[in-house]
């Protein structure tokens, strides 16, 4: 009987996600959720500051201009764009939409998401800037 070590199990590195570009993009995409949560906090701080009077609103404006807050929000913006692009890209795969027994082509589902985003963004901008 030959002494044998049996089947070989390759160990999984803690950095498995750095080995392929697709895995790295995946992990970055998942981390975008942290910046989503941060922006919820930021939004609530804004609402709270606004409803506490003109002075606190002004203080919030000054605080939001600080380097670290600005940097955090710029990074958040990039991550949220990553989230948007990947989310819209994957949505057609999860949603099979039937219109009069024919499947709506995935490109149409994708375009629909972007169109809705543009529309809602325009509405938000108008509401805030008018």
């Amino acid at each position: 009987m030959i002494e044998t070590t049996g089947p070989y199990h390759r160990p999984i590195s803690l950095f498995w996600w750095t080995r392929r570009r697709a895995y790295l993009v995946f992990v970055l995409r998942e981390l975008s959720s942290v910046f989503v949560a941060w922006f919820v906090v930021y939004l609530l701080m804004l609402v709270s500051a606004t409803s506490s009077g003109g002075d606190s609103y002004q203080r919030f404006q000054d605080w939001s201009g600080q380097v670290w807050v600005l940097a955090l929000n710029i990074v958040s913006f990039l991550f949220i764009l990553l989230h948007m692009v990947t989310w819209f890209g994957l949505a057609p795969k999860a949603m099979v939409v039937k219109l009069r027994a024919r499947r709506v082509p995935p490109r149409a589902v994708l375009a629909g998401h972007y169109a809705l985003c543009v529309l809602l963004s325009a509405i938000v901008a108008w509401l805030v800037l008018r």
């Binding site: 998942e30 919820v40 600005l70 958040s76 938000v124």
Partner: protein, 117 residues
Amino acid sequence: MSRRRSPEPFVWLLFSAGGTVTALLFPMLVFLFGIAFPLGWLSWPDHAHLLSVVQNPITKLILFGVCVLALFHWAHRFRYTLYDGLQLKRLSSAIIVLCYGGAVVGSVLAGLVLLGA
């Protein structure tokens, strides 16, 4: 055959709704309130105007919904990031409490802030 009803489908639906809502609304919101106004590319809305927008009950309702969904989107996604990214699945009970509990706390805070606005 009845089996213990798993919460997975429900948290996944919240995650999906949150992902969709944040993908549709957050880019413009972050751009305006996180970058354009603080950098001075556009001037901050005057206080009276923003206050009237924020105090509108429909705005409050929508903002509350968006915040709750966004927080549960984070909770679900972050939970799996800890499982797979940091291989912490053995701590899953603590992670579940941290993530969804955090989302619940955040939702309550959102409710309080918006109610009091």
